[in-house]
Amino acid sequence: MQQRVPAPATGSSELPPESGASEEGESERVSKRGLPDLIEAQILFTWLPLVLATALWLYALPHIDYRHMGDWGLLDQLPAAFFLSLVVLTAGFVVSLRRAGTAPWWPGLYSVALLFALKAPTAILYDSVRYPWASKHDAVVTHLLVNQELRPGTPLSGNMAAYDQWPGFFTLNSALVRAFGVQTTQSYLNWAALFYGVILIPVLVLVYRTFAEDWRLVWTGVWIFEVANWVGQDYFSPQGLALILHLSVLAVVLRHFVRPGSAGDLRSRAHLDPAAASVPPPTTARQRAVCVVILAPLIAAINFTHQLTPVMLCVSLFALNLTRRYRNPGLLVVTGLIMLVWDLTMGRPLFVETLDSLKESAGNLLNNSRAGYAGELTGPGPVLQGRADIVMVLAVAALAAFAVLTRRKLLKSALPLLLVSIAPVPMFAINDYGGEMLFRVYLFGLPGAAFFAAAALVPAPGGAREPGYFGVAPVVRRRISAVALPAVLLALVAGFLPAYYGKERMYYTPPAETALVTKVIDAAPRDSLILAATGSFPMALHRYDQLEHWFFVEQALPDNIRMLKDPAGFLEPGLPKDGRPAFVLLTHTQDVYTAGEGLLPAGGFAELTSKLSASPRFRVIDRNEYGTVLRYQPPTTPLR
């Protein structure tokens, strides 16, 4: 669908006009608007797509057959009406951009609708926890509620003590569980992506408005952020909350920490891109000091909540200190000190361990940038998701790079945003963060990347004399943009689906499997050893502070092929000899995960299950169509 994208009526107001003479006039017009106005073409095509997309989406929702996902994850279970609703939504968004200057709430509404359209289906439909590792975070909350205290110094299997060392997110949810009167966070945790998304949008708008006066650019940036946020870090997790707090701190810094006299010629509109906002007014040293005090609780909460985000925040603030505009070493020192105090007190055990491991990981770029474990994605859905991830990263990076090259004036005024986005990239040189550094660096870089990617698509209003567009005339530029904007936005929405839902079969945890695992773990005596192929299954870490764990397939494929020759022989040396029971849980979600991530060869999981079931050292104690539970029979125990 081609839409002409004319220059917006940009104003100097920061919000959708709600006050002021002209704005009152607008609201009066809105209130007096009758049916004939609503069917006037431009207004009709602003609200009608939203209604139509909502109707299509609601129709599609009950037809999403998530219980019978196959190799393509959720992709082939989504009905045509679902895809159509996204097309209509994107078209409506592009049309609403035409009035973004005077009615910015319309693209805002479309952005919120997109968030719901993309991420609400699983929250509404699923009858169990989405993402097996979300149930790990649920287990941490339960652990805190049972113990009623933090035990940062108590070592726990699988480095789980880290959650007592950075407990902010979990203590907050402990309070919510009790205040809501629910049993566990499982009652609400599938809604996390939507909750985080709704909270994040205004923060993102605040950051973007600091650098752009053009609402079209702001909302297109938000739209691109949403569709490029396929990385799945916005589930029920500390990092999801910490990212919002991180961006909030940066928003305050970018708006209130401009040093006097540092903006130079950017104070003149003649030196600004037509879409750019004026550099925020400078603040006095006293005002900035007050702002540091205001920010301290936010910075402290980030440190209470997550290990990596404070490091990212320090790195981002350091990058800002490289500019004249935001040279505020005091804030950097305070942020660093808060981090250091937490790391050396509550977080000391893991901090010291990480420092030790840095000797090995530092400089190992190839290993630190790997995604997940050592396996290769296998199966149509996971392979497509892997490729879509790469294409999405490259597409957003290419668009952002294009804007950086062609909109020099915008780059100059929004350079701080670019700096804070690329600042986390060197983290690759330091640590692999359990195979997740790639995703985390991408996520922290995404706000700036989405902004510049939007700048590549939304032409500068009235930018006739703007140089640097490779000599392309403004009229031609606008025509190209009229095609490119809807086409690219639609392509990115299309790319989001495989990037987010291609592996969905790994993420949906059938209730019968959850019940089987819960039953075994509830009955396991204290200090039992729980074995499983991988930790990626529901309730894997239920009662984790009373049990030990060994996820024995989480290693390279060649090691697993050797293990498959004699699984019982591979496991036996590591099993307890002191009479503690050991249980092996082999479930459907593990099967899907180990196959999709390429940890086991085709049929490997079934082979593992049958060989262990046939071994005299293991006895099947429970079984249903979603899993098998075995108990280890030590050599001293007479075989039954």
Binding site: E149, P167, L172, G181, H256, C291, P297
Partner: protein, 127 residues
């Protein structure tokens, strides 16, 4: 305007206590979890940011809207973690702490973020 501001202040001051009262309702009902969620996510942040001596500039309104939830959630995380550290955790202690904080904060002018207090951009400061 002062009347409207005072109404907002009173609403902010009472919001936490209303949430606390809602916890007496049957477990997991919307009438219970919705006020609690709204207060924990927005109450303390709005109480800190909103009551400003003058009308908020449009930029400051967006700022208050965007930062209310992050500030509230930060304070919630700090309070709940502190309660765990002193082994005094309970949902009542958590909500009472935040409600008292919101009540106290709503009695004072909002945080002096420059955007909220400066007035129009580049306007000379009042002496």
């Amino acid at each position: 305007m002062p009347l409207t501001r005072n109404r907002i202040r009173i609403a902010m001051a009472l919001s936490g206590w209303v949430a606390l009262g809602a916890t007496q309702l049957p477990a997991a009902t919307p009438a219970r979890w919705i006020p609690v969620l709204l207060f924990v996510c927005f109450g303390p942040g709005f109480a800190l940011l909103y009551p400003q001596p003058d009308m908020l500039r449009p930029g400051a309104r967006l700022e208050a809207l965007a930062l209310a939830a992050p500030l509230s959630l930060s304070l919630g995380a700090l309070v709940s973690t502190s309660l765990f550290l002193v082994k005094g955790f309970s949902s009542t202690a958590f909500l009472v702490s935040l409600a008292a904080f919101a009540t106290a904060a709503s009695a004072f002018p909002g945080l002096p973020l420059p955007a909220a207090t400066r007035g129009a951009v580049e306007r000379p400061r009042r002496r």
